[in-house]
Symmetry: C2
Subunit: 342 residues, 2 copies
């Protein structure tokens, strides 16, 4: 069933039917009602391509999937997507996932833009001088960044307060009496990683605690690296009595390392992990319950979609910046340092 046929059925012009369906004011209430009824009855729904061709808007936003297994594609991804999609459905927009081809990311972005398959783009996991941000800004293509960069040119972004999260967590550990605090976070170069390290350093420096470079680890987020790095850290003398973990997966590995060394978690060694909030991995139900810096990445996705819609509606990007605070949720994996039993 197409518009033309529906219009014929109703004895109306395509114009009127189209307007009735799209909620334009210049159509009689009774007529509009009649049209909706008919559309319902025949299961009519506009051909998305034709509509978009006519309207000039694509009705979809894009997100590139890195081909390699970078930090940008982990368990948090599905949560983030879920948030995006949820919001986009409010605006009748689709989410287009485009995989980058032969690892030339920038080319993939260009292709995505030039083929006009999306109105805007969402980019995630930026580096401090992210070239994608630079490119899209220059191309004047609408986008919202999840994260931040040091790039001066104005662009829209939403980020969580990574520095604050780690500063707060480290401060808290210091308050508890810890003096040897390590951090195992994501790969260097990524903004979030740099910011977290900054926050960590600030907390230590503020309290006059020397920063031991061996205690700052940047690695892929995985239980495996968490395990290995924590084992290494715990073999030092003195070893850290507290570890900040950049992800839940890392924390799982760290937990294992602590146990394998015979230490008690939350006593001899404390751990505070950053939690993106996964429905299937609950920090509060672990044993001991995990102290976390928490920020729902699902909510962030949802909000970012909203912001992108605003960018598309013409809101100046220089107005679109949000930094979300991160909560520190105290649970049992962090406590005052206790001397080892041996």
């Amino acid at each position: 069933m197409k518009l033309k046929e529906l219009a014929e059925q109703l004895g109306l012009s395509q114009t009127t039917v189209s307007r009735a369906l799209n909620g334009y004011p210049e159509v009689n209430k009774a007529t509009r009602e009649r049209v909706s009824q008919a559309a319902q009855k025949y299961g009519y729904s506009a051909n998305a391509n034709a509509r978009r061709l006519a309207i000039g808007r694509i009705g979809a936003i894009g997100i590139l999937m890195p081909r390699d297994r970078s930090e940008r594609f982990g368990p948090h991804t599905s949560e983030f997507f879920s948030g995006l999609a949820e919001q986009l459905s409010q605006h009748e927009m689709d989410l287009l996932m485009s995989p980058s081809i032969n690892n030339d990311e920038l080319a993939a972005y260009r292709r995505l833009i030039s083929s006009k398959r999306v109105d805007g783009i969402i980019i995630t996991g930026p580096t401090l001088m992210d070239e994608r941000v630079a490119m899209l800004t220059e191309a004047k293509f609408p986008f919202v960044l999840h994260g931040r960069t040091n790039i001066a040119a104005p662009h829209a972004w939403l980020d969580i307060d990574n520095a604050g999260a780690f500063r707060q967590a480290a401060s808290h550990l210091i308050d508890l009496g810890h003096r040897h605090i390590a951090m195992i976070d994501g790969l260097k170069g990524h903004t979030f990683s740099e910011h977290r390290e900054m926050g960590y350093r600030e907390a230590l420096v503020e309290r006059g605690i020397a920063v031991d470079p061996r205690f700052i680890v940047h690695e892929r987020f995985s239980d495996e690296t968490g395990f290995h790095e924590a084992q290494r850290l715990l073999s030092y003398t003195p070893h850290p009595t507290a570890i900040l973990a950049g992800s839940m997966m890392t924390a799982l590995g760290i937990f294992r390392a602590i146990r394998s060394k015979g230490y008690e978690l939350g006593k001899e060694v404390s751990v505070i992990a950053h939690d993106d909030v996964f429905p299937y991995l609950n920090a509060s139900n672990m044993v001991p319950a995990m102290t976390t810096t928490r920020s729902s990445i699902r909510s962030a996705g949802s909000r970012i979609a909203e912001l992108l819609v605003r960018v598309l509606d013409g809101e100046p990007v220089e107005n679109i910046h949000e930094i979300w605070p991160v909560e520190l949720i105290l649970r049992q994996s962090s406590g005052p340092p206790v001397a080892p039993r041996r």
Copy 2:
């Protein structure tokens, strides 16, 4: 830059330029070359909507994201998507994620079809009499199912051998000497869950071991349920000396429960988990390394995309069925039962 302009630049007709770019034979080699060069130079790329409107094919396949936090949206999702997207890029197709609105899934599918935004659909996590499968089959809309149903009408699907996986795992445990084996799997009703239970039962029955209904648990996949259910199971007398876990997250919870009861994993209580293969959660690096039934969900996604393309190309759906075997990878979390120390 649009086709018309490009054609003018070249002093050719739109027809010729279009044909040159799309690889049609009736265009001079030199001309084709000249056109490609120019397209490259001006960064021309066809407007996807116009192209699709003309061509009648959408160039995208759809996948619905359940709004609720069902089994269908977990950590495996991003891996599955990743596989899909990787394959689709070979065919210049997009992946459209559409969130279901107000939890009326069927309506969301209908909307997706009638608005002609996708050529085909991928559906996952079916129940035995999945209504989506029934609906799409009846509507004659192309789709490929990840999983299986009992629906007789022919439709394309790819599934892993869930029954075989659990049968194999249970058999192995029996070989090791276990007589009290439990399973904690996903929610009842889902095909994979039913099949796994079937496999488990078969293995026990085959060896003359009575099936204890208390030992069969169906729950959401999460570390939390793994923990609670395993705790419950281990409080029975006699308690299971081995547990099959339906997911890695469940297994994490089970591990915790075993430890919290003071049992040694792989000795007093064995665990075999199903592993979809996550880059960030590696079974072989756990301590003890986890015995798993392994099947890459990423590969499945990739293959399913390929199958859907074939369906779209007109291959009869009754030819498209694949059951993938599941490997049992023996590691240290499973071993002969050892009597508890007390």
